[in-house]
Amino acid sequence: MMGEIIRHFKIWLMLVRINFMSQMEYRVNFVTGILMEAGYLLAKTMYVIVAYAAGRKIAGFGPNEILVFVGSYVALTGFYAGALAMNLFGLSTIVRDGSFDMILAKPVNSQFYATFRRSDMGPFLFDTIAGIVMVIVGLVRAGFGFNPLGVLGWSFFAASGAAVGYALWVIPMTFVFRIVRADAIAALADSFWDFNNVPMVVYGRVGRAIGTFAIPIFVITNFPALFALGKLSPPLIAWGFAAPFVFGFIAARLWKSGLRHYASGGN
């Protein structure tokens, strides 16, 4: 099992290298891609501006703590925009035109290859670095000193959140094998990402429960921030460990069951 994970990680690194080389052929596109992410970063930081300008706490969190939440959200957006989004948005096309056949013919896991074959290092690096800087600035300004456990915990919950985010976007996309044209599902799933732009505490008890356990969107970027701020309760810490396995398993099962409906219709 571990050997398979390491093998697929090595393949992913090779794919990243190939994608990066191909992007370097079109450097203006690479630069404008980073400019686009900078624009989106501006939009995200507007919520931080509100927190600072309003001069009052948001559900018990001060502006510096809000910066930690938004920073975590920006950092994880790097993973979503750089490693995931283009694969999920492109899945519908390759299923429709039949080029998904080539993925099935490769000696790697089809779910892995279909969802990780393309990457864009521009937004990945830009957002991840910008997000981490925001988290550090927020923590320092809020009076938190350097804490190795905090760094490890934030990194662990960020990785756990990335895994949950991956599973949550793969699950709806498995319908692509049944309905073929699933661009709308991808767009709808994409719009859910923004719910992490503000701390989950603003959504009320029912919203928080749904977003934590049923559709665990808040596990993705709220958990790392809550842990860094020392406000992640033990049951939620346990859920942060379990959620990637639960939803990763569901995503893998749904992928396998969806594959049976793939008709290779475009060929």
Binding site: M46, V50, A53, I58, S191
Partner: protein, 272 residues
């Protein structure tokens, strides 16, 4: 060959735009669905910020005014959103623009009337939703508007469409100089939406930045029509605002004409 009367030619372009709008009607649904998450997120945020002090005024808005702004601005953003810049870029890049140069029709006219035709369909659908939202907000939040505000809103919305078209027309012409600009359009769009008050009201940026942004053309695409409908534009500011908007329209149209003139000289129709 006698040339077609302009009204007939561009009337055809308008009807082509209407047909395209009807053909891709599912897009309208997705566009509306895309407005749901920002409205939910921001309403939840404002609920928490105004909690405990419902009469508070934040950034110049009471709670009902802020929620009304959020809903109206999100719907206006969807109405004025462009997409033709990708077609212009494709026409330049693929050389397909040369087809339009030999036709008895102006490319600018073709694009703007097609855009307006498309927006007639979207505007009708989203406008109906906006009307329902206004009724719901009147009942739930005490939001009030007048017939005069609605009429001025329609005028401001029409000017917002023209303004956004001209802004993106100027940006799209960069295709004469750059070959890979897909991401650039999105970068420009998000900055324009933020500077237009499409994400949050401009007052959030602070008084100095707000004053500067109010002199720019961007706010006329989202914040101005939204505030006209909400009755937040004082009568004394109405005429100067419309006049400034008209001045920007003329300036952008002139800029577009100059850039088109220079760009078309570089156009080599490669690929056609």
């Amino acid at each position: 060959m006698p040339s077609l009367a302009p009204a007939r030619k561009y009337g055809k372009c308008l009807s082509l735009g209407v047909k395209a709008g009807i053909e891709y009607r599912v897009n309208i649904l997705f566009s509306i669905a895309g407005a749901i998450s920002p409205v939910v997120i921001q309403t939840a945020l404002w609920l928490v910020l105004y909690a405990g002090d419902p009469g508070a005024i934040m950034f110049g808005f009471t709670f009902p005014q802020m929620v009304a702004y959020t809903v109206i601005a999100q719907l206006v953003t969807r109405i004025v959103r462009t997409g033709f810049e990708y077609d212009v870029n494709y026409d330049i890049k693929s050389g397909g623009l040369d087809r339009y140069l030999v036709k008895p029709i102006g490319y600018f006219g073709f694009r703007i009337f097609s855009f307006l035709g498309d927006k007639l369909v979207q505007g009708a659908a989203i406008g109906a939703l906006l009307a329902v939202s206004v009724v719901v907000m009147s009942t739930a939040l005490g939001f009030a508007t007048t017939a005069a505000s609605v009429l001025l809103f329609v005028l401001a919305l029409f000017l917002a469409l023209a303004m956004n078209f001209l802004l993106f027309w100027c940006v799209s012409l960069s295709g004469f100089w750059l070959t890979e600009i897909g991401f650039l359009f999105e970068a420009v769009r998000i900055v324009i939406v933020a500077a237009s008050g499409g994400i949050l009201p401009l007052a959030v940026f602070g008084p100095d930045a707000e004053r500067a942004l109010k002199l720019m053309p961007f706010r006329f695409t989202i914040q101005f029509p939204t505030e006209v409908l909400s009755g937040r534009v004082p009568p004394s500011e109405m005429l100067p605002s419309f006049a400034l908007c008209a001045l920007w329209l003329i300036a952008l149209a002139a800029l577009g004409r100059v850039v088109w003139g220079r760009g078309i000289r570089r156009f080599a129709a490669v690929g056609s």
